[in-house]
């Protein structure tokens, strides 16, 4: 059994890292908003999904123009990423204005409910638009970075099988890492990043220090949603086919990743995302093997939720978070 697990390991690592990178960047959006507002932005998964659709639309649009075929794929990707991130960033800012800001002093149940509502609205609006233009809400984007590469893992040791992936794997991983490093720099080294951390620690005191709290919150939503949207584009490039319902479960998983890493902690979200991606891929490849066929790969979502519950019970502050006690 161990042999079989080892054989598939290179492929599991490759797939796990791709998925983990996606989780990690989406998890950043949850963790940033939670850090500042102690709010689970349920609609974040839908922002990610909108990003995937907007990005795909741009790809189709630009590549439909004849002269655009001359543009190198990589430049095209960067343009689409920037455009999409700006749009979804603004969507995020608008969402906060409309659905969360008026409720900042309401009982905590209420903003959660608006968040669910916003999720539904985004899903249906995207479905409607996609169906209107495409005739079907399941959309397949143009194929990009689709050269097959084989990782000769068997050359290292004969116990491994080779892993196969598309070039897009490298793109997804690379862009995700660049985004995470950039965000980490922004939060820790810039003026607005410092303001963000201050607001997260103590909103009242931060406002007394002449920090414009509303602006900081808007910026947080912009960055979180821009990252989510950009990841959506990466997702569309990597997996090709998208539908309006990809955001919900993926958003949940990303949230689990954020909790795993320690909610409110930016580096924690990155670690949690990667870890969850790897664990999930490992589970889906080996669950059936490990349980003697009783549980198959269908149980990989169960596995992710089981991780969430275990973390919340035994280490609610997550891997990198600090424990907090409620003040009485």
């Amino acid at each position: 059994m161990l042999q079989e697990i080892l054989q598939s390991l290179p492929q599991v690592l490759v797939d796990g890292l791709t998925l983990g990178a996606v989780y990690a960047v989406v998890a950043l959006g949850y963790t940033m908003v939670y850090g500042i507002l102690q709010l689970i932005n349920f609609a974040h998964g839908e922002v990610f999904m909108s990003g995937a659709f907007i990005g795909t639309a741009f790809f189709i649009l630009i590549m439909g123009m004849g002269w655009a075929s001359a543009i190198p794929q990589f430049i095209l990707l960067i343009i689409v990423l920037i455009l999409t991130a700006s749009i979804t960033g603004l969507v995020g800012v608008g969402l906060e204005r409309v659905a969360y800001r008026p409720l900042r002093n309401a009982p905590r149940l209420i903003p959660l409910i608006t968040a669910i509502g916003i999720s539904f609205i985004l899903q249906d609006v995207v479905r409607f638009i996609a169906e209107l233009f495409n005739g079907n809400y399941i959309v397949t984007g143009p194929s990009l970075f689709s050269e097959q590469i084989t990782l000769k893992a068997s050359a290292i040791s004969s116990i491994f099988y080779d892993a196969r992936f598309k070039t897009s794997f490298l793109i997804v991983l690379g862009v995700a890492i660049i985004l995470m490093v950039a965000l980490d720099y922004f939060v820790n080294k810039t003026k607005w990043g410092t303001a963000m951390r201050a607001v997260a620690l103590d909103r009242e005191t931060a406002s007394l220090m002449s920090i414009n709290v509303n602006k900081v919150i808007s910026i947080t939503f912009f960055i979180g949603s821009a990252l989510g949207g950009a990841t959506g584009v990466l997702f569309a490039v990597q997996y090709g086919t998208i539908d309006p319902y990809i955001g919900f479960i993926l958003g949940l998983k990303a949230f689990i990743a954020a909790v795993l890493g320690g909610i409110g902690n930016i580096r924690g979200a990155m670690v949690g995302g990667m870890l969850l991606g790897l664990m999930e891929m490992f589970a889906s490849a080996n669950l059936s093997l490990l349980t003697g066929g009783v549980f198959g790969a269908e149980y990989k979502d169960v596995f992710a939720f089981a991780i969430l519950i275990l973390v919340l019970i035994f280490k609610p502050e997550g891997l990198l978070g600090k424990p907090t006690a409620e003040k009485v």
């Binding site: 102690q38 709010l39 689970i40 409309v98 659905a99 008026p102 409720l103 309401a106 009982p107 905590r108 149940l109 209420i110 903003p111 959660l112 409910i113 608006t114 669910i116 509502g117 916003i118 999720s119 539904f120 609205i121 985004l122 899903q123 249906d124 609006v125 479905r127 409607f128 169906e131 209107l132 919900f248 949940l252 949230f255 689990i256 909790v259 066929g293 009783v294 549980f295 198959g296 269908e298 149980y299 979502d301 169960v302 992710a304 939720f305 969430l308 519950i309 919340l312 019970i313 609610p316 409620e326 009485v328």
Partner: protein, 431 residues
């Protein structure tokens, strides 16, 4: 003018006369027309009007029971659409009961449960597995399928199974704080669905994605129940039980402890309320109402599969509670009725109507925009609009009004110095 109008409507006799007239007209319209959704809905809305009328509670209940048990089924029986009316009414009853269950958890105890449909599924599967030959795959003894009389016993079994599921989920989940609970329950809802969906291996218990077909219909006094109008009465009886139970709990020690936990956990604990136990009880009792209706649902459909128990169902029930008013029993009843009717009748009717318009070339509506597909958008918009502008729902929850006279009259032990151990010796001071 406005004042006159107000006195006009506050006149009790006049109210009663107008109300009776309304009922007579709508029921006549319903009885004599071939199919009139409008008059059916108007007749149902007479129950809502009744709620706001200035009558004694007992009178209201008698009128409501009369309407529900006699007039509504009779008036609907006039046309060929009888069974479809009864079908809708049965579904309304099932959803009201579930929404009342969720209301205990969300509205009273303040715990956002996003996987509530799981308990409905547990109830539905408990009956389906034993009322088909499915059970013989894993039961070493017994003769399956069980007969239709077992349905009545299974109402209780389904409720208990759901309550057990509620406790099993609750034990790990309720240690989790606030917001996380929503996500964890959502996860559990999905887990249960995935388990039912894959429960055909290694032992075939749930028949997996194929679902369970030919569930034995209930039987009573040798009569087999299989038509919606029969299930209507079964549902109605259970619903009445649910409403009475929920109302009793709301104004008891139990309901107060739930609300106290919702309002302030730390203070509730300082008053001697054990948090986990109180929340578990809310989970288990809420779940049991859902489980009971799950049994009814399975028997009525005679077929169940995991697609009836998706996340969307959980959210639908949540919409009912939020729309009606969290914590408000009459509100939740209204919310559940409105959402179910919207789902089952209004949206389909509207779609048909728009299709006809499109066919006749009056206007063209793209298929993507057909109301039947807009369910999510409508629910989302309702959730956002209500959370922002009317967070207390259509009929906000009200606290029980205590009558000062009753509290002052006949004080026990008033002049009695050897007060019971349990009572606070204030009277010593006051005398």
């Amino acid at each position: 003018m406005k004042g006159k109008l107000a006195t006009f409507f506050s006149n009790k006799q006049l109210q009663v006369i107008l109300y009776s007239l309304f009922i007579i007209v709508t029921s006549a319209a319903l009885y004599f027309s071939q199919k009139s959704v409008v008059s059916f809905l108007l007749l149902l809305s007479s129950l809502l009007i009744l709620h706001f009328m200035n009558l004694k509670n007992v009178t209201k209940w008698i009128v409501a029971l009369g309407l529900l048990f006699i007039l509504i089924p009779f008036a609907s029986s006039g046309g060929p659409a009888f069974q479809s009316y009864m079908e809708v009414a049965t579904m309304v009853g099932i959803y009201i009961s579930m929404a009342l269950g969720l209301n205990i958890v969300v509205g009273m105890a303040g715990l956002l449960d996003l996987g509530f449909v799981a308990f409905f599924a547990v109830g539905a599967y408990s009956y389906s597995i034993f009322a088909t030959s499915q059970a013989s795959n894993f039961m070493p003894f017994g003769n399956f399928p069980l007969g239709g009389e077992s349905f009545w016993g299974f109402l209780i079994v389904g409720g208990i199974m759901a309550a057990i599921a509620g406790v099993l989920i609750g034990v790990p989940v309720l240690r989790v704080k606030g917001d996380y609970l929503a996500i964890v329950t959502l996860g559990f809802g999905e887990i249960i669905r995935i388990i039912f969906n894959n429960g055909d291996r290694p032992i075939n218990i749930t028949n997996g994605a194929m679902g369970i077909a030919s569930v034995t219909p209930p039987e009573i006094f040798g009569m087999t129940l299989s038509f919606p109008n029969q299930f209507y009465f079964v549902t109605l009886l259970i619903l009445m039980f649910t409403i009475f139970a929920v109302l009793r709990m709301e104004h008891s020690k139990l309901g107060r402890s739930w609300k106290a936990v919702r309002e302030n956990e730390i203070a509730a604990q300082a008053m001697g309320i054990p948090l986990v136990k109180t929340k578990l009880l809310a989970f288990a009792l809420g779940a049991s109402f859902s489980g009971i209706m799950g049994v009814v649902f399975a028997a009525k459909q005679a077929f169940i599969d995991p697609t009836s128990f998706t996340l969307m169902e959980s959210f639908t029930i949540l919409v009912m509670v939020v729309l009606g008013g969290m914590g408000s029993v009459p509100g939740v009843i209204l919310g559940a009725a409105v959402v179910t009717i919207l789902n089952l009748q209004v949206l389909t009717e509207l779609t048909n109507w728009l299709n006809q318009l499109s066919l006749s070339g009056v206007l063209t509506i793209p298929d993507a925009l057909s109301p039947a597909k807009m369910q999510k958008f409508i629910f989302g918009a309702l959730l956002v609009a209500f959370a922002l502008y009317r967070p207390k729902g259509l009929i906000p929850a009200k606290n029980k009004i205590f009558d000062v006279k009753k509290l002052k009259d006949h004080r026990p032990d008033h002049l009695n110095n050897d007060t019971k151990e349990n009572s606070i010796p204030i009277d010593k001071v006051q005398v």
